[in-house]
Amino acid sequence: MNDRKTSVAVIFGGESVEHDVSILTGLQFLEALDQDKYTGLPIYVASDGSWWTGDELLKRSNYPIAKEDRDTLTSVRLSIGQARSTFGPALVASSKGLLGKVKERIIPFDIMVPAIHGSFGEDGVLQGLLEAAGVPYVGCGILASATTINKDFTKNVLSAMGIPVLPHMMAHRPVMGTHLQTREISDRLGTEMHSHKYPFFVKPRQLGSSIGVARVNNEEELTTALLDIFRLDSAAIIEPFVPNLVEYNVAVSRAFGDVRASAIERPVKETEFLDFKAKYLAGSDGSPKLDAAPSEGMASLNRDINPTDLPRDKAALIRTHACDAFLALELAGSVRVDFLGNSETGELWLNEINTIPGSFAYFLWQHAEPEVTYSELAGALIDEGFRKFEGRRRETGADMGGGTIFN
């Protein structure tokens, strides 16, 4: 007798600046799902916030999807507000019937995989929505997502744990109608970051993917950079610029049982820091390879996996810090922890934690010891998602503990 296949909804796209990268992440995950065990259900969140499903979403050549082309797709929303016993997780698809009457039908699924980078997908908002709707999901929970998306919060927690992070200062977006107080920021730079001088490195507090990041050599450049960032985010982080910069990334997961770190990669770059386009559009002429899959996105960018010039003890330290951070922040899924280093002095700092990394960092697991294929990774993440859901279900109910007032 055939067991019913597990239906896995993968939600990608979104309203953040990382919309396009998320499409690749989502499609690759769907393509990695073992067809013997799972059926995939693509859910695309367009940049206007609408949710869609349909087979057309599976072809890279159909993107970007213009509003006029949406008639081949099915408009859907998450089913929420039903009693838990009615039916399990589901989408509600609506279409216009013959006489213009709206018809609805249910599309059930078993688990959802958030594949949206940045706001909504990676900051706890989607996770909160899914928990409210009683939907099992893959990856970090609400708190873990909300804390790690906030670089200031993350650095404070890690620093308190003794994990090395760069010193930093926060600058907040001026209240509407007021101007950026450059003088005040410069004064604070002088006091809070007193042992450091220009150049500094500025980045949005909550956005990822190198959008808005800039090296600034003087106050004027700082002002420009902050104004750019404040168009995207409400706060910015200012850190000392690290000379002889070298970066190391490692993935961490608990989905295989114990907390485990993957292969370490050193992104190889021409410019001083990865900028957005180079990070994601690494086709031969800079354009993404359509319908290509395993060689697209970050996977094909020049990278040195398990770099031979990384000393053993350094590599071990990177893995230890990454695993400690993973445990302390109670993370889940396949998380990528990014480190910065000064290749001359050998100093190392934890830079940021990405709880929904591009391609779920599958290539780092592919090169790990032991090797984990993307299909195996996907299966493990899904199993972990179900386990976490079961764990949540055992929490309090309204009629426990004698707290009722109305009898």
């Binding site: 393509e31 599976l58 294929t373």
Partner: protein, 260 residues
């Protein structure tokens, strides 16, 4: 026969490692399997050939068919020895693989045929009528050219020829011979296990072809990959194909252990 151009990648030691030989499809070359060989680089030693007339390998004789390709390929492959060997083909490469298997039993432990060509497809009546009409038109064009010195036949080829036909160049005779081949007899002679992998959306070598092959071959399994076509099965379909190849390697490992 000069040596075929090939790229070698993956594991170094050939005695312990599984050796995988890759045979590409028409109009392609050894790089068409790059996604798969890189996903499998820690699991096997990969030898990916440029078949004659493609990439950097010189042509065989004009009009050479899949049998000649297989015979030439056989001279390139070392005897099996201790290592385990899998031959993997895609499309046209599968024709060569089937000929190789039929004429050189034991040259590999098993075969994986992806989107395999080589059998005549069952065609609908409408298709057959149209095909008959097209053939008549082509013959008429040739006749006119012979009688009146017109240039209808090349114009006919430009208008109705497939992309592969038009781009074939010196390989055109081979192409015409090959598309008319039927390898049913050879398929029946394949002694080794064969894993047939077809995409559900493949319009060039539909799943029905896979079913025909499975019926003809003594020891064949058919795996249909949902949502993949003739070409993208090697690209975005690579994770699925990788899983199949890994399970074949696992089976090979366990049977060779039993053999010891």
């Amino acid at each position: 026969m000069a040596e075929f151009y090939k790229t070698i990648s993956g594991l170094e030691d050939a005695n312990d490692a599984v050796e995988i030989i890759w045979l590409h499809g028409w109009g392609q070359d050894n790089s068409s399997f790059k996604a798969l060989t890189s996903l499998l680089e820690r699991r096997a030693r990969h030898i990916s050939y440029d078949l004659p007339g493609f990439g950097q390998t010189p042509m065989l004789d004009k009009g050479a068919g899949s049998a000649e390709y297989a015979a030439a390929l056989a001279t390139q492959i070392s005897p099996l020895g201790h290592s385990r060997r899998i031959i993997i083909g895609h499309s046209f490469g599968c024709r060569v693989a089937v000929q190789l298997a039929a004429n050189h039993p034991g040259i590999a432990d098993c075969y994986i045929l992806i989107a395999a060509a080589g059998l005549q497809q069952k065609r609908s009546l409408v298709w057959k009528i149209r095909a008959g009409y097209m053939r008549a038109l082509g013959k008429l064009a040739s006749l006119f050219d012979r009688l009146f010195g017109t240039k209808f036949r090349p114009a006919y080829a430009r208008r109705f020829g497939s992309a592969d036909y038009k781009n074939a160049g010196d390989l055109r005779e081979t192409f015409v011979n090959v598309v008319n081949e039927d390898l049913s007899a050879q398929a029946r002679q394949v002694k080794e296990p064969v894993m047939l992998v077809f995409g559900s959306e493949d319009r060039e070598t539909p799943v029905a072809l896979g079913e025909s092959y499975r019926a003809l071959m003594p020891d064949a399994t058919l795996k249909v990959l949902d949502g993949y076509g003739h070409l993208d099965i090697l690209g975005r379909g690579a994770h699925q194909v990788q899983n199949i190849i890994l399970s074949v390697i696992k089976t090979l490992d366990s049977t060779s252990d039993k053999g010891q």
